[in-house]
Symmetry: C2
Subunit: 415 residues, 2 copies
């Protein structure tokens, strides 16, 4: 019998009516002949309230006690959903993290899942019961409650699917799947039937916020087939699977963008050996992540260094660089927060040349200047001025042949 | 070092300010040189909301899932109070029922405490930490969360005090102690410094709703010294202790009343052997508790039977009695919900005669007719018409010499 883990987020269980809807959805999946386990988040708004209480009492609260407080949100939902399922005649039982147990390390507030004991849940499913599992929480080595960090319920679901050797992990969310790009920018964006873990990871990390990055990494590592599917509509979503399961490998599967970056340029840095180490060492020590880097060698023995940092880290980066001015010997710092990173992603790139040049040509034809370029095995990213975001995404979507049919008038309005 | 368990109810932890107040109170007790463990209820209102969600989803909800949902209320409070204590520099740690563990039977929703493992908490206190324990909850034989029933946090506190061999269990509440009678009726009521378990039990069960009956029974059985003390004022409360600790044993310690009863009279029941069994058997089967009973033998071979039942059970009682009319052979049923039970309670009664006659004389002098009388070793109760409630309580309070000094004008207004 196929075994499926279904995960519902906070908006899907926001009130009793939605919890009843979730129960109906679970019942249908079970009636269709599947063994089902469910993972749920807290009712939306609950976690924020609990976090606020902790923070109001003490901004520097003990993360172990924070975990005790916030883990109650999911505990409420599992009990209520179990009651709603039983009301529909579906045998169900709630499971808190410590009852399974979902064992984690002791990094309270952002714990890592070490192991999940699946035996009790499998036995329960084989008796026809639906286990309803609290997402986001586990139990640490000392028996204290831990949480996995915000959005951690996706991670719970994928890890549970691995432990239960489930055939699929369905992540119910407020979008109906993964798109070739953001449909709000490109109305002709198409929903993908399948996408590989690696592509999903690149898309997740550059701004397509459908699945939390850590949960995609876990799915990749544990080879868990994940489906992103709508909580509110009844139609297939996007399957995130191993590359081997994708027959027609698109050269480019999607166009992503991220407006979280800021550009920093150091002008006329003396081009001595070790300058990069002297530059990026202090930034790393200050916990500033550097992403794209480009170095232009000048004719006069100096060089211009350009790189991007997370926009929220920009003040800290400037502070560090100004403190290191003497040792670096640069002439001036230019910073620019008005940049956007556009990425084209596709596993087909590995076996196809010319992906980058298509990108450069398409942007050039629209008069868009590329400020920085970086590439990985399945991704080409460029940094452009923020104002070109929509234009660039649309141009690339068309250039790689991703455009679907024109949406009907109603959908079009959303574009 | 003296060891104290402090218990705070829902109104004492209703919001963050009150939780901070509780933390200060705990700190003071610890600074005074005591080892302290704290038991808390859910923030007031929380449990009602959680119960309502369960009931709205299914009035016949699974009590095991109900327990999962409602136990979260106390879990929130323990985490928040631990944070508030740490903020004051007091080392503190929260403990859910399953973490201690507090082991109960599997009667979900109204579980009985079987055992409490005190070792971890004692070790923690000896390190200077304050354990903050979730009241109202435990863990069943199968590792599932249980709750002790409404008001169960008092029970948790007393049971914990027994397990920790605490010198005292302080129950913080919205009254400042146990009074000789209800101060709203008798402004000259006096707060008792000490009262015996047995007296407290009689007072609790007849309407002085300071301590839950089950928790007094547990305190009596386990010989836990309990102090009822105000959450909002800083002064000594009433100590509930073993009779041996009370030097001056008052003949009457308190006057209690209960307006929860209704009177039932069956007129002209044929006075045959077994009539009482035929009468009270069916009532017991219908779960109707019968309290005071009086039987008047008539001259003509019939008898009038009068007894009291809980007022909410009155419709059911009438139904049962009417169904049994033929087998009982009575002439008519009279019912009267407008009655009140007044009780005088005192361990000194055991060695003093004349307590009942003082009562009858005092009521007679005020023209109050006694409808039913019942007595136990340390209590005399009478049933009178509701309208005499205040008059009767005041007359008895004076007759047994319990009146204190006239309260000042301000307190008098409350009377």
């Amino acid at each position: 019998m196929p075994r499926i883990v279904m995960k519902f987020g906070g908006t899907s269980v926001a009130d009793l009516d939605r919890i009843r809807n979730v129960a109906n959805r679970v019942k249908r999946e079970r009636d269709a002949g599947n063994e089902v386990a469910v993972v749920v988040s807290a009712m939306s708004g609950t976690t924020n309230q609990l976090v606020k209480w902790c923070t109001d009492l003490d901004p520097l609260h003990d993360p172990r006690e924070y975990d005790v407080v916030v883990a109650t949100g999911e505990q409420v939902t599992i009990g209520l959903l179990a009651i709603a399922l039983q009301k529909l005649g579906v045998p169900a039982r709630s499971w808190a993290g410590w009852q399974i147990p979902i064992r984690t390390d002791d990094a309270h507030g952002k714990a890592r899942v070490d192991s999940i004991e699946g035996a009790d849940l499998i036995a329960s499913m084989q008796l026809g019961q639906v286990p309803v599992v609290a997402g986001f929480q586990g139990v640490g080595p000392d028996g204290r409650i831990t949480t996995l960090g915000r959005g951690g319920s996706d991670l719970s679901a994928v890890a549970l699917a691995a432990a239960l050797k489930a055939d699929r992990c369905d992540i119910y969310t407020d979008v109906d799947g993964v798109y070739t790009t953001d449909p709000r920018i490109v109305p002709r964006a198409r929903k993908l039937d399948r996408i590989s873990f690696e592509e999903m990871l690149e898309l997740a990390s550059v701004g397509a916020k459908v699945l939390q990055t850590r949960s995609v990494e876990m799915a990749l590592k544990q080879r868990v087939r994940v489906q992103v599917v709508s909580s509110f509509e009844d139609k297939p979503g996007t399957l995130v699977v191993d590359e081997d399961e994708i027959v027609e490998k698109l050269i480019v599967s999607g166009i992503a963008y991220s407006a979280d970056d800021a550009k920093v340029t150091l002008r006329r840095v003396p081009d001595r050996p070790g300058v990069a180490a002297r530059l990026f060492g202090p930034l790393a020590e200050a916990n500033v992540n550097v992403d794209m880097i480009v170095q232009n060698i000048g004719a006069d023995g100096t060089t211009d260094m350009t790189f991007t940092v997370n926009r929220t880290d920009l003040p800290r980066a400037k502070e560090v660089l100004e403190a290191a001015r003497d040792s670096l010997g640069y002439e001036s710092i230019n910073t620019d927060p008005n940049v956007v990173k556009i990425s084209v992603v596709g596993i087909g790139m590995r076996s196809h040349a010319g992906v980058a040049s298509t990108m450069f040509r398409a942007l050039s034809e629209k008069g868009i200047n590329i400020q920085v370029i970086s590439t990985s095995e399945i991704k080409v990213s460029v940094l452009v001025a923020s104002e070109y975001k929509e234009l660039a995404v649309r141009a690339l979507h068309t250039a790689y042949g991703l455009d679907g049919p024109e949406p009907d008038a109603k959908t079009g309005e959303e574009g």
